[in-house]
């Protein structure tokens, strides 16, 4: 009988890699039903009283097939999610995943397995941890004497969770996966770890990669620095080197500037550092789209308000008359060497003739001495190009001025540029 049962289980496990999703789904459901029943009516009698019975090996088998190396199984995983609601199943799944990652990765020796890692990620990112001890009450298999069972302890859960994530992040990840992990890191991973500082290795690696990944890693680092007293050497230098033209164009612009605002809000920062940041932001703003400019100009103004020593950048009454070069060195990686304090914000001056009326007005603020109150940029952070367009088009005008110069055709205005380059053919 047991033999038959085992071969049935084996068949079902094989079916989990069937082509048809329905077959996969059904076999998964059946297997989980077996898991539940086996938990209730154990095959092996408990050896001594008070031991806890859960078909761990069986579950491990299921998990193994849930995260195959060859094909994407995200659909199946989302079906599996309902079982992760059970605290005991979750606990043992986490353990099984940790073990599985170790085995698979050891076999392949640090070679990227995008599909496998993607599968693992979709499985483990769907694990939602309980936040309080007394929430751990939901079990698939009821145990007789519950008090001493490990699964009952939140701490044990956290430890398993931590081990699983660390095991997963220990290995090299594909770029897209990096981004996904970093996006959810500070929200759904860090709070559930026993020792969040263990994440520092992963974050440091991510921070050094550059580009969008660095921007995202910033958020996790911030949580560690802020709540767990982490010391990060040369943090501002790294932050400074993160500033490149793409920061105004990437999707995570709002997140980055929100954090940058926090980092630069400290009044203990030296003036040269803040000035370097200001100058670099302004220089990069020369390539920014209007929605980003509307955000960064008040941002710079706020920096001036917090650090009045930097105001020489916009007001240098007794400076040299005429310079042949901008003293600021853009390529210098060390903020202290960039000579930002000797420079002036000519960039904002140039932006005063920006085509967008709001930007031009915002940039004109530096002409006067700044008011004391800081601007609130939180609303401007998320401003998108489409919103900007919408705002413009909804403005009501009393009169509509008209072009008075008459033309003789589509390209028929005086000195029309198009005549030189395009033909109406």
């Amino acid at each position: 009988m047991r033999h038959r049962y085992n071969s049935c289980v084996n068949c079902l496990v094989e079916l989990m890699s069937h082509e048809s999703f329905q077959v996969k789904e059904l076999s998964l459901l059946t297997l989980m039903k077996f898991v539940e029943l086996e938990g209730k009516y154990p095959l092996v009698k408990a050896e001594w009283k008070g031991s806890f019975i859960f078909p761990c090996e069986f579950l491990k088998l299921v998990v193994e097939n849930l995260i195959p190396c060859e094909e994407d199984s995200s659909l199946l995983i989302s079906r599996f999610q309902e079982y992760l609601e059970y605290d005991d199943v979750r606990y043992f799944v986490m353990k099984a995943v940790t073990e599985n990652i170790g085995q698979v990765m050891q076999k392949t020796k640090e070679v990227l397995l995008p599909i496998y890692q993607q599968n693992v990620f979709s499985l483990i990112s769907s694990i939602s941890m309980p936040s309080k001890e007394n929430e751990v009450v939901h079990f698939m298999v009821k145990q007789a004497n519950q008090e001493e069972w490990k699964v009952l302890k939140l701490k044990e859960h956290k430890r398993a969770f931590e081990r699983m994530w660390l095991g997963f992040l220990k290995h090299k990840l594909p770029t897209s996966l990096y981004k996904k992990v970093l996006v959810i890191l500070h929200d759904s991973i860090l709070p559930h770890l026993n020792e969040p500082t263990l994440m520092i290795d992963f974050l440091t690696v991510a921070y050094d990669i550059g580009g969008a990944i660095s921007l995202l890693a910033l958020n996790g680092l911030f949580v560690l620095i802020h709540q767990h007293n982490l010391e990060y050497p040369d943090f501002y230098k790294k932050l400074y080197s993160l500033l490149d033209p793409s920061i105004y164009h990437v999707k995570y612009r709002a997140r980055f500037f929100h954090l940058a605002d926090l980092f630069l809000s400290s009044s203990h920062l030296p003036a040269y550092l803040v000035a370097a940041f200001i100058k670099r932001l302004a220089r990069l703003a020369l390539t920014a789209p209007p929605q980003a400019l509307l955000m960064v100009i008040p941002f710079i103004c706020n920096l001036f308000r917090r650090h009045p020593a930097c105001k020489v950048l916009v007001h240098r009454p007794d400076g040299p008359e005429d310079l042949s070069e901008d003293p600021y060195i853009m390529d210098e990686e060390e903020p202290s060497e960039s000579r930002a304090l000797e420079s002036s914000l000519w960039e904002l001056k140039a932006l005063q003739s920006h085509y967008h009326p709001d930007v031009a007005q915002a940039a004109a603020v530096v002409n006067q001495s700044l008011s004391e109150l800081e601007d609130d940029i939180s609303e401007l952070l998320e401003l998108s190009a489409y919103e900007l367009f919408d705002r413009e088009i909804k403005k009501k005008a009393t009169t509509v001025p008209l072009e008075f110069e008459h033309m003789k055709g589509l390209f028929g205005k005086k000195n029309d540029l198009f005549v030189e380059h395009f033909a109406l053919e």
């Binding site: 390539t287 000519w346 205005k413 053919e425």
Partner: protein, 610 residues
């Protein structure tokens, strides 16, 4: 003397009153209606019979042999200055001429309709009327020839009948003179469908004239709608295969005049089009994650915006949204094909045209031109410059404009980019494609030069241009390019490098000192002295009562005081009287006592003596 002479000099004569717009419009309409009636008349073939009944001029050489001249050949001589002299044959043979000459004269009154400056009017009048008169004279020539032929065959009656039939046909196909305003875009299309450009223009002009807002109440709304339909029609012309660009080129004229008449409605229509386009793009970004360049019609609309509205305004209800939209085009749309490059360059051109007067700074423009240059560079080492979205340093489209074939380089000649290429790239040979690439590059270089001259005065000009400069000097394989392109490259680079480097340290404007608050006394004018001012009747009454009360009170106090004084005085005198009485009595008593004492002492002394 001189003064007297002056007195005799001609004084300025009052000129004829200028006709008002309404009168002109009315006349115009009446004229058109009359012409329309005539035309209908002729269409039914009535006029010729009537004409025939009229007595004809008989030649002295008439042989009276029963030979009937149905065409009078002398009218060949009656042409003057390319027009037929008035005569009874005019209507017979000169259908075309008549209508054309009418059209000629139409040109001027219409243009006066618009309230424009005189300068514009000059411009305005010459374009359409020139066109029509040209056409008119051409047709006259053909008519002329026709008539010569007729003259030859004037013996043949049968043939003349045929001619007559042909004329009826011609009149049928001729344009009607009055039109109602089409109520939908479809109706407008059916109205204009199949006509040549000139006819379409005439139709639109007549619609405008027959339905001038001053003629009927609803006309304004109708014509306002017409703008939207016309805009839609133009959009459709731009999307057909191949795009009817020549037609659009001409249709812009009525669009302009309509816009001059109804600025608000026109701006709303254009805004609506823009909003639609921006919404579509946003949707595409949400669904697909990236946007593609719009079709040709949108590019044409943007160009039309520049024609209709002044682009140099600081803020303009139509132009500013157009700016934002174009900025989105250059930052969000992927450059995947050569068509995209052309569209992008077109938008760059638009941007430059928009700011040609105002000289405003457009970061997106510089970024895009940098990206275009980048995709023309063979070796991808992005050193010294950084690309921004939508361009990336690597990837499959990163060598879109790269030309390697040396032969193609040599045979290239700069040509204007035909816009029809935007809708489809002709199945062209590799050579043509390469030539096309080089043309794009030439446009890009020229635009860079224009940018450089435009932004030369900006304070951080060199920082703005730095990436482009690095690309131009270090990465672009100039030596391999044809001469013309090398020249362009040189010009652009020179324009950038020639600008002087001036960095004046910034100084804030001096804050005006806040003036101290001055408390000037509040001056109330007193109009009548001695009388209390202002207040309502009750107030006055109250004040009067208070005043009265005060006075009474004072009087009473005074009375009381007087009484008291009187009383005190009386009491005092009484007391004094009583006092003096008492003193007198006391004295009397003392006196009597003293005499008694004296008597007693005298008696005592007497006793002692005794």
């Amino acid at each position: 003397m001189i003064v007297r002479e002056l007195g005799f000099e001609m004084k300025a004569q009052p000129s004829d009153r200028l006709k008002t717009e309404e009168e002109l419009a009315k006349e115009e309409q009446e004229r058109l209606q009359k012409l329309e009636a005539d035309r209908l008349h002729r269409m039914h073939g009535k006029d010729e019979h009537e004409n025939k009944k009229k007595p004809k001029h008989m030649s002295a050489d008439d042989l009276a042999d029963g030979f009937i001249l149905d065409k009078d050949d002398r009218r060949l001589l009656s042409y003057k200055d390319g027009k037929i002299n008035v005569g009874n044959e005019e209507k017979e043979g000169g259908n075309e001429e008549e209508s054309e000459s009418e059209e000629e004269s139409e040109g001027e009154p219409t243009r006066e309709d618009g309230e424009e400056a005189i300068v514009e009017e000059d411009d305005a009048t010459d374009s359409p009327s020139d066109l029509e008169s040209d056409m008119g004279s051409e047709e006259e020539v053909t008519a002329d020839e026709d008539q010569k032929k007729k003259h030859k065959g004037n013996e043949n009656k049968l043939q003349s009948e045929k001619e007559q039939n042909a004329k009826i046909e011609a009149a049928k196909s001729e344009l009607p003179y009055t039109f109602t305003v089409p109520e939908s875009c479809e109706k407008l299309k059916s109205l204009l469908f199949g006509r040549i450009i000139e006819e379409q223009l005439v139709i639109l002009e007549r619609i405008q004239k027959c339905n001038h807002p001053s003629l009927a109440v609803g006309n304004k709304a109708k014509l306002e709608k017409l703008f939207g339909f016309l805009l839609e029609y133009i959009g459709e012309l731009a999307t057909v295969e191949p795009p009817e660009l020549k037609m659009i080129d001409k249709l812009v004229l009525p669009l302009y005049s309509l816009c001059q008449m109804f600025p608000e409605a026109a701006s709303n229509s254009v805004k609506f089009v823009l909003q639609d386009a921006a919404h579509d793009m946003e949707e595409m970004i949400e669904v697909k994650g990236r946007a593609t360049f719009p079709k040709l019609d949108m590019l044409i609309y943007l160009k039309i915006t520049a024609i209709l509205f002044p682009t140099s305004d600081f803020w303009h209800p139509v132009v500013t949204p157009a700016f934002v939209y174009m900025s989105q085009l250059l930052t969000k749309c992927q450059v995947m094909t050569l068509q995209d490059v052309v569209k992008g360059l077109f938008v760059c051109c638009l941007f430059l045209e928009y700011v040609s007067l105002s000289q405003r700074f457009i970061p997106e423009l510089i970024n895009f031109l940098l990206g275009i240059l980048h995709i023309a560079v063979p070796q991808k080492r992005t050193q010294g410059y950084t690309l921004v979205h939508p361009f990336r340093s690597g990837g499959k489209n990163s060598e879109l404009l790269l030309v390697c074939d040396k032969k193609n380089m040599e045979t290239w000649q700069k040509q204007n980019l035909p816009l029809s290429i935007v809708t489809r790239l002709k199945e062209s040979s590799k050579t043509e494609m390469n030539h096309f690439r080089l043309s794009c590059l030439a446009v890009c270089l020229d635009l860079i030069k224009k940018c450089a001259s435009l932004y030369g005065s900006l304070s951080s000009f060199h920082e703005i241009m730095l990436p482009i400069r690095v690309l131009l000097t270090e990465h672009i394989p100039v030596s391999e390019y044809p001469k013309q392109l090398q020249e362009l490259h040189q010009n652009a680079l020179k324009e950038i490098e020639d600008k002087e480097k001036h960095y004046m340290p910034l100084v804030c404007e001096k804050k005006k000192p806040v003036p101290l608050k001055l408390y000037t006394p509040k001056i109330v004018k007193v109009l009548e002295f001695g009388r209390k001012q202002g207040g309502s009747k009750e107030e006055q009454e109250r004040r009067r009562l208070i005043h009265k009360h005060k006075r009474e009170f004072k009087g009473a106090v005074r009375e009381i005081r007087k009484d008291n004084q009187f009383l005190a005085r009386m009491q005092l005198s009484e007391i004094m009287e009583r006092d003096s009485d008492r003193k007198r009595k006391v004295k009397h008593l003392f006196n009597s006592l003293a005499t008694q004492e004296g008597e007693w002492k005298a008696m005592k002394r007497k006793k002692f003596k005794n």
